[in-house]
Every structure is written in structure tokens, then in C-alpha cells.
């Protein structure tokens, strides 16, 4: 019996190690490639014989043969992601709050509409959004991206609504009796209780804007206005066979902030994921 148990545990550990390798390998490989000398994809060994920081340096200085304003892209992306995060989180939280805590006419209809809108392929509306932005004279502006992301934010409100549903109603009822206004209740009672869900929404909207390339590619027409996602996609499409190590360095710099953020705020993400799943 004891022997059987030991065999089972050994097999389990072997499996765990194999899965761990599969999880880590791609990340490790791209990081090591970014330090590799030369520019080719092919490498004799996993750990390069010679390491260099050249590719990172290349990203940050302008080169005559390539049009890669990487620093500019980074700045654009940061600007778009942070603004979308602030505005999008605000819109999403307020919508969810209204839907969760109030019973008003048209509420059920609005929820059904949100549910139905979520079923259309996200970019089915691309052409129309393009024409509308063209008419608003906003094409090629990073603010247009912020506008598009923020307007869509309300549609993702179900996770936050599920969270607000679990806050006891007695809390705000007693505050109402004490003469607090709805705004005061939201600020003083609901907001402090909602840090986990706000964190979750903030991270996901930030990441969403950070990595989106579908709308970004459609809206941002000129190269210097691009975001990292668009730039990197182009880099892969046009240079990946010849400039693989440069792409590797670029990817590491794009992925690093998000990955670190995710690993550190894991707790909130797990919380949000499970909340969203059980409430639907």
C-alpha cells in the first residue's frame, strides 16, 4: 500500500515537472534569444554562448535602415492603456453598480441588450467605427482608441455586477436612513468594499488596451502613432525571419510589465475570474 502510494506520488511529480517545463520553456527561450549575438532564429544551444545587450540598445536608438520608433510606440501605448484603464474602469464600475443596486424601469431590457451585444464578433463593427471616427476627425489619434475602448467598457460589466450583488443591502439602507445621498453611499461604503473587483477590472482593461492590435491597426494610420502591439505585429510580419533577435527583445519589453503585474496581483485575478465564472 505504501509502495503504491510512493509510485503514484513519483509519477505525479514527474508530470508536474514536465508541465512546469512546458510552461516555462517558451518564455525562457524568448528571453535567452533576446540576448543572443546575431539576428537569426536558429541557435546551436538553448543558452547562447555569447550574450549581448545589443538588441535592446537597437530598439532605443533610431536606425537608418529600419523605421522602428520603439520608444515612441512604448509611450503611445502607455498613454492609451493608462487613460483607457482609468476611464474604462470608471464606466464599467458605475454601470455595474447601477445595474446591481437599483431597480429601475428598463433595467431588464438593458441587461438583455448587453448580453446580446456581447454575442457579436467584436470587430464586426470595424467599418462603421472607422467611418464614424473619420467624420469626427479623430482618425489616427490615440484618443480615438481610448474613446472606442471606453465606450465598450460598459458591456463587460457582468463580473462587477456579480460582485456588487454580494454586498449586503442592509449597509446602504441604514446609510439612507441616516440621510446619506446615493453618491455618498457609493463613495463611502461601496467603493472601499470593492477594491478586489476594481483591481481586477483595472488590470484587465489595462492589458486589453496594451495588447489590442485589431482596432489599433485600423485606427492608427501613421507609423509614429502606432502602439506596441501594432508595431510588434508588423515587426514579425516584415522582419521576423531576418531580425528575430530584435523581435525577441521587443517582445520581452512588451510582455514584462504585464507579466510582472499579473504575477504580483494574482490574488485579485483569481478572485475576478472565479467571481465572473460563478455569476455569469
Amino acid at each position: 500500500m505504501k509502495k503504491k502510494r510512493r509510485i503514484k506520488l513519483t509519477i505525479s511529480y514527474v508530470l508536474l515537472v514536465l508541465i512546469a517545463l512546458a510552461c516555462i520553456y517558451p518564455a525562457l527561450w524568448i528571453i535567452l534569444s533576446s540576448f543572443k549575438v546575431g539576428d537569426s532564429l536558429y541557435s546551436e544551444t538553448l543558452i547562447p554562448q555569447k550574450l549581448t545587450l545589443q538588441h535592446y540598445a537597437d530598439l532605443f536608438r533610431s536606425q537608418s535602415d529600419k523605421d522602428l520608433p520603439y520608444v515612441k510606440w512604448y509611450w503611445n501605448t502607455l498613454k492609451v492603456a493608462v487613460s483607457s484603464m482609468v476611464l474604462g474602469t470608471l464606466v464599467q464600475i458605475l454601470t455595474a453598480y447601477a445595474m446591481s443596486r437599483f431597480r429601475f424601469r428598463g433595467r431588464q431590457t438593458m441587461m438583455s441588450v448587453i448580453l446580446i451585444l456581447g454575442m457579436f464578433p467584436g470587430f464586426m463593427s470595424m467599418i462603421a467605427v472607422y467611418v464614424i471616427l473619420l467624420q469626427m476627425n479623430l482618425l489616427n489619434s490615440p484618443w480615438a482608441l481610448v474613446l472606442v475602448y471606453t465606450s465598450g467598457a460598459a458591456l463587460g460589466m457582468f463580473v462587477a455586477k456579480g460582485f456588487f450583488d454580494t454586498i449586503p443591502r442592509a449597509l446602504e439602507e441604514s446609510a439612507l436612513l441616516d440621510g446619506a445621498s446615493h453618491f455618498q453611499i457609493f463613495r463611502r461604503i461601496i467603493l472601499p468594499l470593492s477594491t478586489p473587483i476594481i483591481t481586477y477590472i483595472a488590470i484587465t482593461t489595462f492589458t486589453g488596451a496594451w495588447v489590442d492590435f485589431i482596432f489599433a491597426r485600423l485606427i492608427l494610420r501613421s507609423r509614429e502613432n502606432w502602439t506596441l502591439a501594432v508595431g510588434l505585429y508588423e515587426l514579425v510580419n516584415s522582419y521576423s525571419s531576418t531580425e528575430f533577435t530584435l523581435f525577441a527583445a521587443g517582445s520581452v519589453l512588451v510582455a514584462l510589465p504585464i507579466t510582472i503585474l499579473y504575477m504580483f496581483l494574482q490574488r485579485f485575478l483569481v478572485h475576478g475570474l472565479t467571481a465572473g465564472a460563478t455569476k455569469g
Binding site: S12, L16, L115, L117, I127, V129, H182
Partner: protein, 449 residues
Amino acid sequence: MNKAAIHPKRTAGMGSAAIAAVLSAVVMGLGQMYNRQWAKGALFLLAGLVSLYLILNGLASNMWGLVTLGEQPAHMEKVGRLYRNVPGDHSIFMMIYGLVALLYVILLACFYVANIKDAYRIGKQRERGQKVNTFRDTWRMLGDKGFPYVLLALPTIGVLVFTILPIVFMVLMAFTNYSAPDHIPPKNLVDWVGFRTFTNLVTLEAWSHTFIGVLTWTIIWAVVATVTTYFGGILVALLIEQQGIRFKGFWRTLFILPYAIPQFISLLVMRNLLNYQFGPVNQYLRMLGMGGVPWLNDPFWAKVTVILVNMWIGIPVSMILVLGVLTAIPRDLYEAAEVDGATGFQKFRNITMPFVLFQTAPILIMQFAGNINNFNVIFLLTNGLPANGDYAYAGSTDLLVTWLYKLTLDNQRYNFASAIGIIIFIIIAAFSLYNYRRSRSFKEEDMIQ
């Protein structure tokens, strides 16, 4: 004091409510003024006048444009002795302006009806001798009963302009002939063609062949991708939560890594990792003497690859969800089973599995729907390739969504793209509706507290 003194305006036969309603029906805001709500009446009147001006100056003709979609294409015209290119009607712009106008008029109509109802309601209050709200009272009520509307006003406008309007536009597009090469404005006009795009999609050889092929693959992909990540997630979670495994937190953190790396980066990296000639995976396989696998170059292997890579990306999420469920299983169930002498497998089959399945069934269906629309994995990993000569504008691994994307952005076959979008919507809506009916959390949301 008699009643007539309180209601000096009251006439025989017609209550002030009815009068106010009729007045508001004739001119917006007039009934409110009759009810002595001056500020409100003035605001309504202003809104009515502005709307009237807008309708006369463009909205009406814009709406007519939605019907005709333009009558004059771009053409050459003789000016003096020279021929000059005269721009014609731009059908697509006309369609969008028409929709905006229509939207405005619909909202106006709702407002108009609300205005009549309001005049009637306040009139009734006056008939009963109740105190009528002053403008300040109304304003204060906005912060109380109207608070949810105040919160939702801006988000609603955003969704209306950037989601609903574009979707309606795209749905309408399926019923036009907006498509390369013959119907692309501003050179040509676009016309309404009814259901012809849909019938073409099914009857025209080239299109129907592609459509059926892509649809079949989309469904196979969605089923396999969902099942593999879901059960993979359960297995990994159970592996970690086993009795006797140490450093549970460490393994969990490690396995979340693929979820933490931005998807589009990991997909582009995978694309290089699996490169047939130079990629390290094939390099190792060759070292082991097995020869390289055409991961992305062979139609069959490319399909296997996208599913494998999708497992790498999707299993962590399922794992997190299942781990959450596992901790919620009451301990005493297992203890009772142990007392009865159940084996490990029996405990798994009769306690763990039913519990996990019951808790996560709604997600399973949502993930299935999500996979039908899984644009990123296909687009970034294979871009629909390898090419398929039998298909119209699609490759071997293209899903309906990526096909839609290519038809729109690369080939300008807008009407077909939009018809496909509608079909995707119908498939997903059917599944979601089923799910929605099943999940009780929605119906019983008020019972939580």
C-alpha cells in the same frame, strides 16, 4: 372655497390632464407650461424646436438617403471644354448618416411620447389638488430616484454610438451588394439586394464550398479546444491538490505563467518556436532522430498545432477556476466516504467530478462560445494558413471570424463578411440562450440577499 377656485383653468368636460396632454402633443413642452412647470416646459420646447430645425435641415433627407443609398455615381462631366470628375453619392456614408438620423428620430419619438405622458400625469396631480413638483424638486429627484439613469447616461451614449450603431450598420450591409470589385464607393453606388448575399453564400459553388468547410472546422475546433482545455485544467488542478504533493502554492504560481504572458506575445513567439526549418522544437526532434514536423505548414498538422498551443494558453484559466471549486467541496463528504471505505478513484468519480462539473457547466458553454470567436489564436499563429486552393479567400485553419476579418480588410467583400457575422451571431446566440435558461443565477439574482 369651491373647487373651481383652486383649478381656475378647468373647463367643463375636459380635465386639465387631458388639456395638458393635448397641448404637449401639439407642441412639446406646451402642456408642461400649462401645468405651470415653466422651466421644464421651456427645456422641452427648446428640444422640440432644435429637433424640428435638424429634421428640416438634413435629417429628413438623410433618412431618405438610407432608402435610396444614392442615385448619382461618380462621373465625368463637361465643364467648359474640359471633362472633370464629379464626385457622386457615397452610398456607405449615406447609409451611416441615415442610421444616425433614424436613431435620432426614434429617440425623439420616445421623448415625445414621454412628454405627453408627463403632461397628463402632472395634470392629473393638479386635478387631485396635489402639490406639483417645482423645477428644483425635479432636479433633486434626479439625484434620488433618477440616480441610476444619471449613472448610465454616458455609458449608454457610448454604447449607442460605438457598438449598437455600427452593429446595425453591419447587419444592414449583409442586405446590400457592397463588395469588390463592382460596388465600392465612391466610384460606384451600392444597392439593397435583399437576401441575395445569403443565397449566394449557400448556392454559389466557390462560396458554399468554403462556407461549409470553414464552418465544419470552426465547430470541430470549438469542441476540441473547449474539451481539451477544460479537462486539461481539471487534471492539472487535481494533480496539484493531491494528498502528499508539497509546495502546492509554488506549482500553482508556476502554472499560471502562460496566463500572465500577454496572449499576442506568446502566440507570436510560438509561431517562431514551431518554425519548420529553424525552430528549436524541430531542432530537438531532429537531434532525437525523428525528423521535423511541419507544425504550421501542413493543413493537418497546422490544425493539431493550433489546438496544442491553445491548450498551453487555455489550461491555466480552467485550472484556476477548478482550483476555486475544489476548495469549496465540503471536507466531510470525503471523510464520510473514507469511513465507508471508498477508494481514491471512487471518491474522485462520485464526489469531486460531479461537484466540479455542476459548478463549472455554465463556463464550459461560455468557453465554447468564446472559442467559436477565438480570433487571436488562429490569426496570430497561422493567419489561417496553410493556403487552401479550393477556398474563396480562406486558408485551411481559418475560422469563420478570421475569414470574416480577411473578407473585410483584405478583400473588401463587405456584404459576405457581414452575412457571416450574422451567422456567427445566430450560432452563439443559440448556445448562450440555452446556457442562460439553464443558469439559475440570473433569474434568482434577487434571492441572494
